[in-house]
Symmetry: C2
Subunit: 362 residues, 2 copies
Amino acid sequence: MTLQKLQRALQRKKIDALLISQPDNRRYLSGYTATDSSITESSGFLLIPARGSSFLFTDSRFELHAASEAKDFEIVLYPKGLLALLQKILPKLKISRLGFESHYTLHSTAEKLSSLCNKLDIEVIPLVGLVEKMRARKTQEEIDKIEKSVLLNETVFQEIFPLIQPGMTERAVASRLENCMLEKGAERPSFETIVAGGPNGASPHAVPGNRPLQKGEPIVIDMGLILDGYCSDMTRTVVLGTPDARTVKLFRLVRKAQLAATSAIRAGITGREADKAARDIINSGGFGKNFGHGLGHGVGLAVHEGPALNKRNKKKLQTGMIITVEPGIYLPDWGGIRLENMGVVEEKGCRILNRDTTFLDL
Amino acid sequence: MTLQKLQRALQRKKIDALLISQPDNRRYLSGYTATDSSITESSGFLLIPARGSSFLFTDSRFELHAASEAKDFEIVLYPKGLLALLQKILPKLKISRLGFESHYTLHSTAEKLSSLCNKLDIEVIPLVGLVEKMRARKTQEEIDKIEKSVLLNETVFQEIFPLIQPGMTERAVASRLENCMLEKGAERPSFETIVAGGPNGASPHAVPGNRPLQKGEPIVIDMGLILDGYCSDMTRTVVLGTPDARTVKLFRLVRKAQLAATSAIRAGITGREADKAARDIINSGGFGKNFGHGLGHGVGLAVHEGPALNKRNKKKLQTGMIITVEPGIYLPDWGGIRLENMGVVEEKGCRILNRDTTFLDL
């Protein structure tokens, strides 16, 4: 289905075939779940002609894996590398305009591809984000998978949270959370789990360290996992013992901003407007300068994908998009408060996928 | 030292400064240990002028980390992104020829860099593998670090191997191995640990699954870790219980190929000749078609780096290179046998770094 949609897009652009190198796009279109350890160690490429059947190119190490998953694709091996295979196959398929993913192809590879295509009298067209744009709107099947990922992530949080004691290090808590994810069947964490107590929480992307967690301080826990390919992403800020008045005040302001944005989000408003709904609340509380990142981002096969909910995105949200709603306030030397849920953009609103309410409504 | 060597290379090439984007090269030159979760999420870039002091560009999340490690570098933040910073800093430094790493820069990024430099009247020079070439020959300090990584990896294997029982899943064994790496102080596994029993072993890069391991079948365990930045990589094929005659025969053939290659390797022979030494043995045993990958690869800050030991590499090996020697035989539906050690290329031979002999000499 998605494949046909992409083929129609290629026909409109008069591109005879598109070479897919981005691993999430590869999985999205083919079902082939192999991951790439880096851009220089690919476990395969797709060639999607504008018409007719599609190919998965890989090497012998991945042949069986690819064949068992990418049922609609013809698997072709490249014992002498991708370019040698393209040299043989592109003329056979009578390709005269070949698209490639400019945003996930190395400059050196693009140069070699250009020079090969030059010899074959094929025009090379750099494309950016064509499949990513399709991925931003999820099918019901994808939404169901993401919801399961969200709920498993919450189960992990709820199982480990009661075990967190003052004196445990951030790193120990992060490691317990990640082990629990794997035990419960996650493929892996969707990003490096953040556990940031007190002052460390002032950095939105804190790395867990050996600092022991203290009673009374805000502790930011930002965690996610991958289940059946799909990511979850949730942040809770918790306190061991009783939060002080300042913490409670900031908590309530961040939660108010989160609820305001959740109420505002629906198909048709822009990413910028969604961001503004939360930002206005935090500005009016006097902490606008302490909310230094955007409100949220899309989530799917990648933990960060389109659409962006921030000041720069003037495009409208569409039904089926899955986004995070994660306002925060960060005070240097003191710490941070961030609350993050995930929701589905619907015609008339935003359906939040999270059920966990730990410390949300202090 | 390495920095001065690179600067001399830039002077010879009449390049005023080199922009480093490849994370292992960044660490090699600066000591800054941050990793990048992917090419699209960089934790920093280096700018190495041909003369004078060097810069590390990053964002506020990594400022303290960078400053604490990259002592010889001036840390500069890019709140508006790398390109906006380059626009300000390149003219100040009077750069008129700027090199960049063509093999680790996205085509779309290179396009933006070109158009910026065009406006600034700066010539952009794509370079490939300049620092990688330096990295392929290790210093004694690096060799010592790699040897420690190899030995720790063996300690992990030897601790977990006796605990493996028929009925345990591949995934459970892989997870025990990886947890043990972390407990013993590894930064992380150097790649996703492979545990592949029976038919799964027929795929050289099998992903551990939920299949229970069986008595008598060959089980391929390919594992490595990172210690103090440097990788190890080792494969053992083991059997729970008694191997049958076929298994023993294939084991001995693979081991014979490994020993033949190890004897052949020394400074001055080519990667192709090293590969041939092993391949000739496996060919003569009648299994040439079942050895579908190259003999080995370099190992260092990256688990796969130069030099390649395969049919295509006609360059000579040099002293100080560290390589894997890993022939294998793969029979669809039956399984695989692969044996992998790491060694240092020396003037008169190959010094194997491994000491573990588990199941090597059946």
